[in-house]
Amino acid sequence: MSLEFLIASAIGVLTAGGIYLALRARTFQVVLGLTLLSYAVNLFLFAVGRLMVDRPPLYAPGVTDHADPLPQALVLTAIVITFGMTALVVILSLRSFLESGSDQVDGIADPTRDEAE
């Protein structure tokens, strides 16, 4: 197995899991799904710069064989922004749950919990 295959298949697995979870009906599952999806997206962006082992993009004169710095810079900001987005979605779903008493994504009341109350 090659590194490229491992990364490509990991991207595929994360995407599939992320989309499946994002389509679920509970806010927390959607958050998990978005997290998986963002892993997949970050990895994909990173992979566009091709894979290099042990050649970090630290400048030294004369070196030509190095990892591509640009996708790395893009992914770095993407990771941080992902955190901001995740935090916002988490808080949004929490507030919506606290206001409505339901953690269903469309705010539909939960039949089972209504009976329990």
Binding site: A47, E99, D106
Partner: protein
């Protein structure tokens, strides 16, 4: 210069009034009054030149691409209107001082009033039809604000909404009409359009233009059948009724007809539509006014009737009729504003506006009654007031309009009805003594009475010395309207015995007779079922809203699940389509690299963890644990694949993300029941797998192809020479692509603030109650702050901060930098929150999250702006290398300063999310619900 001042002065006054809302009433009145007075002074200063035939003009380019210029002119017609607006405005401001109760916000009121004044002056002076549209809409909006000024009153809100719906709807039609007009004439420049009347009238667009423009004008000027908003607008404070809904704004429609007269009039269609509507409105308004009991309602319907009169005159399409219309505009403004002020005084002093409960006020309020009687006489068209002259001119013109006897007959009937309701209006001053709520009403102070004194004097002088006071203005304005030499003008009370005089005498006499025989007719009218415009309007609105809702629900189901599904499905479909049409995604020939056993193990860990998250999604803590496994594998992959910066960032972000989710999960249901049914889960799984195969294959296809030369080689080459750093990733972030980073930290800061806004109110209301219940149910550890944990974290704090600073400083040359350092700082502080509690930590923190975010953005932006001072482009960096003992060589670059800003924002945003979240339940527990909840 004069034009700029005239248009901007009211807006400046509005702004100033809005800013100093807390200042005393005198200051407010001073500002508004001074703005109106200065405007009026400027206008008078410019008047002689304008009347002599040289209009002032001003043109400033605004959006030349759509032929929209800020183009103003002051011609005689504009002068007449602007004078009306500013003159009455000044009087209304003075009147408002006495009218508004002591505790009412005069600043807000006058601010709206000045906004309106500016918009009106703008309409009068616009020399570009698009610019005029802007001001036109602004008058609708400011009228909405003013009608709804008493916002706690339902009738005021409903009246405001109705006025906005009708005049705003007319405004939409007007937009269409004026755009078409511009197309037909080939320009939006008003003065040019006015010279191209033949072109426009010959255009196939002419009927559409005319109908649309008339819709705008008729809704604004309350012409039948769009009149119904005006009586409801009387819910406004009386100064507003006097100013907007009698003297100025409702005349904007009349002004528009006069303004576009050379272009649109002169056809049969114009005569049919305009004269007929005007005549119908004049009759209808006068008839309704006779049977109303509310003083302001009588005046409102009277206004509708008088506006109909002006519209009808303009519809006749002759120069003499235009003269009559313009002269009547002046007359009406004077006597109607005076009457509204008078009604306000009576309302104020007697506590009622019901005419059946008022009588004999002349003995108690002699000044008010005298002024009222004189103004009523003008409205009735009695000599020697100006109203008499303009009514006679109207009757005279009606004789020349059309072919038959119908128009003169109906015009006389309308004059008859006007005389009747006017005389009835005067009954409150005479006859038996009835004083409404208050036993002994009396004349008000100078502020309230003064303005109507002025207006009544004008109404009188307009009758006695019409040629001296109004002659030149009306003559020049007529010339401006008809776009040619002004006709000879002879305004006078006595023109000898002629048919118009006869009609006038008949009208007044019969009107008095009708009033005498009114009670049985009024009873009959009251018994009739008649459509209530408000009920019809509300029904129509409800129907429109219902249809809109049905239509939007048919195409738009408010469901996140459905949206996301469509989004992903469309993306997958596009991907498949793209791959098929371009012949698939061929794999390249780039040699692949063998994977080490460790890599394979890590891959297995990732796949299994992902599978577990998907399967165990409802056991949420478990899912969270496996999410962190995935994050860890990601970080390891980044290390292996030559991305140390990414690995550091990933691991730090992973920590805060998991902490955040743990805190949130704390408050969310732990193991909820399953919601989706099996077919739906299969459907989603199929979609997910399709997308997974697609993206995986795309990644594989890319990675197996050779690289091409890209911009990143430039980054590599210039990192050290241009950016002064060896860590190309960091240099890219803080230097080459710093503008991106600046945008990013702003987004992050906004996310932090949004989180605060979401969590701050969560302690109150329904959310607060749920939080308190939840807290009560929750088992608590007996030891809230374990000693070991507290001590360890306190020791850790300085160490962690040191590590953070180290990572920060070396970031330019080695893996590290502002983002990663900030995350380390944030985790160190968070540990204090976790170990020692929120209150303890909060007390010892010097800078809150809000200032931190603001500071960060400011530092980063200021660093970027600093380079401008040296004549370099935004965000250019400069640098130098320094050595410190222990730390070794490090670099000081302006980029470091930028990175400081980045770090501040990241710390602020992360802390905002986590600290607020960890604290929300405690805050809810401390929050005391107000005992009596406000009624919903």
């Amino acid at each position: 210069m004069i034009l700029t001042t005239l248009t901007t002065l009211p807006f400046l006054a509005a702004l100033l009034l809005a800013l100093c809302g807390r200042a005393s009433r005198g200051v407010h009145i001073g500002i508004a009054g001074a703005a109106s007075a200065v405007g009026l002074g400027l206008l008078l200063h410019a008047a002689p030149g304008v009347l002599a035939g040289t209009p002032l003009t001003l043109r400033i380019g605004w959006v030349p691409a759509i032929d929209l210029d800020f183009s103003l002119w002051l011609d005689p017609l504009g002068l007449l209107f602007a004078g009306l607006i500013l003159g009455i405005g000044l009087l209304v401001v003075i009147y408002a001082q006495g009218y508004l109760a002591k505790d009412e916000p005069t600043g807000r009121f006058l601010s709206f009033l000045m906004l309106f004044q500016g918009a009106m002056v703008g309409i009068a002076l616009s020399n570009n039809v698009l610019l005029m549209l802007v001001f036109w809409e602004l008058t609708s909006l400011s009228s909405f604000l003013l009608i709804g000024f008493w916002r706690d009153r339902a009738d005021a809100r409903q009246g405001a909404r109705m006025a906005l719906a009708v005049t705003g709807g007319g405004g939409l039609a007007l937009i269409g009409g004026l755009l078409l007009l511009g197309q037909a004439a080939g320009t939006y420049d008003l003065a040019t359009i006015l010279t191209r009347g033949d072109l426009v009238r010959a255009s196939p667009l002419y009927p559409a233009i005319l109908v649309l423009v008339l819709l705008g004008a008729f809704t604004k000027s309350a012409q039948f059948p769009f009149h119904f908003w005006l009586p409801h607008a009387m819910a406004a404070p009386t100064p507003v009724s006097a100013y907007l809904h009698s003297a100025t704004m409702v005349k904007a429609g009349v002004f528009l007809l006069a303004r576009l007269w050379p272009v649109l009039s002169g056809t049969d269609l114009w005569f049919d539509l305009v004269a007929t509507t005007g005549l119908a409105t004049m009759l209808f308004g006068a008839a309704v006014a006779l049977f109303r009991n509310d003083l302001k309602a009588i005046l409102a319907y009277s206004t509708i009737s008088q506006l109909g009169l002006m519209v009808m005159l303009l519809g006749f399409g002759t120069a003499a009729a235009v003269t009559a219309a313009l002269f009547h505009i002046l007359n009406h403004a004077a006597f109607k504003a005076a009457l509204f002020m008078n009604a306000g005084i009576v309302d104020h002093k007697t506590g009622t506006r019901d005419i059946t409960r008022l009588g004999g006020l002349a003995r108690l309020m002699p000044i008010t009654a005298t002024l009222g009687t004189l103004a009523v006489a003008a409205m009735a068209g009695l000599p020697p007031l100006g109203g008499f002259i303009s009514k006679e001119m109207m009757l005279e013109e009606s004789l020349h309009a059309g072919d038959g006897w119908l128009v003169p007959l109906l015009a006389t009937l309308a004059a008859l009805l006007s005389a009747a309701y006017s005389l009835r209006y005067a009954t409150q001053y005479f006859g038996a003594r009835r004083t409404g709520e208050i036993a002994a009403p009396h004349d008000p102070g100078l502020a309230m009475i003064g303005p109507s004194v002025g207006l009544v004097i004008i109404a009188l002088v307009l009758g006695m010395l019409p040629m001296t006071i109004a002659g030149p203005l009306v003559r020049a304005a007529t010339g401006a309207v008809i776009g040619g030499a002004p006709p000879g003008l002879d305004l006078a009370l006595w023109h000898g015995i002629n048919p118009a005089l006869g009609m006038s005498i008949v009208a007044v006499a019969a009107g008095a007779l009708l009033l005498w025989r009114r009670p049985p007719i009024a009873r009959w009218v009251a018994d009739q079922r008649r459509p209530d415009a408000k009920v019809l309007f509300d029904t129509a609105m409800a129907a429109v809203v219902g249809v809109t809702r049905r239509v939007s629900l048919a195409v738009h189901k408010p469901s996140l699940q459905r949206y996301l599904f469509m989004l992903f499905a469309v993306a997958v479909a596009c991907g498949i389509d793209g791959a098929l049409t371009t012949g698939g995604l061929p794999v390249g020939t780039r040699p692949t690299q063998a994977a080490s056993p460790i890599a394979i193990v890590a891959w297995f860990a990732l796949v299994i963890a992902t599978g577990t998250v998907v399967i165990a999604q409802r056991r949420r803590f478990l899912a969270l644990v496996f999410i962190s496994v995935i994050g860890l594998v990601m970080a390891l992959a980044f290390i292996r694949l030559s991305a140390p910066d990414l690995a550091l960032t990933q691991i730090a972000v992973e920590v805060v993300t998991i902490l955040l989710m743990l805190l949130a999960l704390h408050l969310l249901p732990k193991i909820p029941p399953r919601l989706s049914d099996t077919p739906r889960r299969v459907r989603d799984a199929v979609l997910g797998i399709a997308a997974g195969i697609g993206t995986g294959w795309a990644a594989w296809a890319i990675m197996t192809r050779e690289t091409r030369t890209s911009v990143s080689s430039w980054h590599w080459a210039h990192s050290y020479s241009g950016g002064g750093g060896k860590n190309v990733v960091n240099v890219t972030l803080v230097d080459f692509r710093a503008f991106d980073t600046l945008g990013e930290i702003i987004v992050l800061g906004i996310a932090g603030l949004a989180i605060y806004a979401l969590l701050e109110p969560a302690a109150r209301g329904a959310a607060g109650r749920r939080l308190r219940e939840w807290r009560a149910d929750m088992p608590h550890s007996p030891e809230r702050h374990p000693m070991m944990f507290v001590m360890a974290t306190r020791l850790l704090l300085p160490l962690a901060l040191l590590v953070g600073i180290y990572i920060f400083l070396r970031g330019h040359n080695q893996p590290g930098g502002g983002f990663i350092a900030a995350l380390v700082f944030a985790i160190a502080i968070l540990l204090q929150y976790l170990a020692s509690g929120f209150d303890w930590t909060d007390d010892r923190r010097k800078i809150g999250e809000h200032p931190l975010i603001a500071m960060g953005v400011l530092i980063a932006a200021a660093t970027g702006l600093g380079s401008l001072a040296f004549g370099k482009p935004f965000l250019t960096s400069s640098f130098g290398h320094f050595t410190l003992p222990l730390v070794g060589e490090f670099e000081l670059a302006t980029a470091t300063l930028f990175d400081t800003g980045v770090a501040c924002v990241v710390v602020g945003a992360v802390m905002m999310a986590l600290a607020q979240l960890s604290h929300v339940a405690q805050r809810a527990a401390k929050y005391r619900e107000p005992d009596a909840e406000p009624p919903r």
